[in-house]
């Protein structure tokens, strides 16, 4: 039986010379989601690319996966640098393409992976298998590691509870020379803007940025009146300030970041149809974070 080959018009998309985890990088990727709406064959051309931060594979891989499900076809070409080719191969990104390298993931990276939001155990396993393996972060205190894990799980649960998306895409990278680790999570569900507007009529005209700014304030939560929340992001921010790490959020037309306790935020020119969260941890963290509480937990009620 012969199969008909479906003809798709082909288009080259040039990856920028430098794609970083910042507002410009997120804006370019938000735009990529928009321009790949039509069922076409797209070739991602890396010929101009000198710098590509591998944790951004979470977003690029999410776009490719979701658009492929909608009938698009993607290929890659002209990855000139061996180092970039190796990085994208090691984290499993290139295995998304028929013409890509299928080298198995190596422990120098935190692999690109898609998770079903209902399969929480898989995420738990992934985080413990790939993040903060002791041989990579020998100087990090156990308390600091625990805070890192807690931050990641709190962030993941925020996506589960608030996005309504079916899938979460994750990818990370160890930047050994800077002794930092970045972990990017992305979903194409309800944005911060949509959730905050739904929560309160008074917030319906909030911009994407204003919605993020509202959500990161301690105690603010879009959960129902009979539920409690609004602590997770607060704890992450508090820890990252001590850790000298960084938190970045891009959702709808808002971009917000906090680095070493200093904020930078802006209204973006395009919409991101979901939410991206990037957490960057400082792996040189030897802080002792808490003394054990001597109080009886039953006295807290």
């Amino acid at each position: 039986m012969a199969f008909k080959r479906l003809y798709l018009p082909k288009e080259n998309i040039y990856i920028p010379s430098s794609l970083k985890t910042d507002d410009e990088g997120f804006t370019w990727l938000a735009n990529l989601w928009e321009i790949t709406k039509q069922s076409k064959s797209y070739s991602l051309d890396f010929q101009n690319t000198n710098w590509f931060e591998a944790n951004l594979c979470a977003i690029l891989g999410a776009i490719i996966t979701l658009r492929t499900d909608e009938g698009c076809h993607f290929s890659v070409c002209n990855i000139k640098s061996n180092q970039l080719n190796q990085t994208l191969s090691n984290n499993g990104f290139l295995s998304l393409f028929k013409n890509g390298d299928r080298t198995s993931t190596k422990n120098s990276s935190i692999p690109f992976q898609q998770f079903d939001m209902t399969n929480e155990e898989e995420v738990e396993k992934y985080i413990y298998e790939h993040v903060l393996l002791s041989e990579r972060v020998p100087e990090m205190s156990e308390q600091a590691k625990k805070k890192v894990f807690r931050s990641i799980f709190e962030m993941y649960q925020n996506s589960v509870m608030h996005s309504g998306a079916d899938n979460l895409f994750v990818c990370g990278q160890f930047y050994f020379h800077k002794r930092r680790m970045a972990l990017t999570m992305v979903e194409f569900g309800r944005t911060f803007k949509e959730n905050v507007a739904r929560h309160n009529e008074a917030f319906k005209d909030y911009s994407g940025l204003k919605a993020i700014e509202w959500a990161v304030i301690s105690g603010n939560t879009t959960k129902k009146a009979e539920e409690t929340g609004g602590l997770g992001l607060d704890l992450i921010r508090e820890f990252l300030q001590m850790n000298e790490g960084k938190l970045q959020i891009r959702s709808a037309d808002g971009y917000w970041e906090e680095k070493k306790g200093v904020n930078f935020a802006k209204d973006c020119t395009n919409q991101f149809s979901g939410s991206v969260v990037n957490i960057e941890f400082n792996l040189r963290d030897e802080n002792i974070y808490y003394a054990k509480e001597e109080i009886d937990p039953n006295s807290l009620f």
Binding site: E226, T228, P297
Partner: protein
């Protein structure tokens, strides 16, 4: 009166309590026992890592339906890692703050039959 022991690891099936959904299941179990006037022990033995999303859903929510006194009477925490007590305190303080009824100081002067409660912030 018999006491029901709920082992957290039986709900989470791991050494971690990092899922809001698991917190919901623990909450349902606590409430069904509370309704039967059965005291509950939450046993955290073997749990090494907890997040607020779990604690909010299993303990924080209780303050919407039950008073502090009721919870004190019916709920007991055991084997919680001392390094996680601070997290539990945060969650309980936040829940009390969210659900605590704030009555105006002049409550006795209010005509509760004829006045609009909104005028008094109620």
């Amino acid at each position: 009166m018999s006491i029901v022991r709920l082992k957290i690891s039986d709900f989470t099936r791991s050494h971690r309590a990092v899922s809001a959904k698991d917190g919901d299941q623990v909450y349902e179990s606590i409430v069904s026992n509370f309704e039967a006037k059965m005291p509950v022990i939450l046993d955290f033995s073997g749990i090494e890592l907890i997040i607020t999303a779990f604690l909010n859903n299993c303990i924080g929510r209780l303050y919407f339906s039950y008073s502090s006194d009721q919870i004190k009477e019916l709920l007991r925490i055991e084997n919680l890692d001392p390094s996680e007590v601070g997290l539990l305190k945060l969650v309980i303080d936040r829940a009390k703050d969210r659900f605590e009824k704030k009555y105006p100081k002049n409550i006795d002067e209010i005509d509760t039959l004829n006045d609009d409660p909104a005028d008094y912030g109620l």
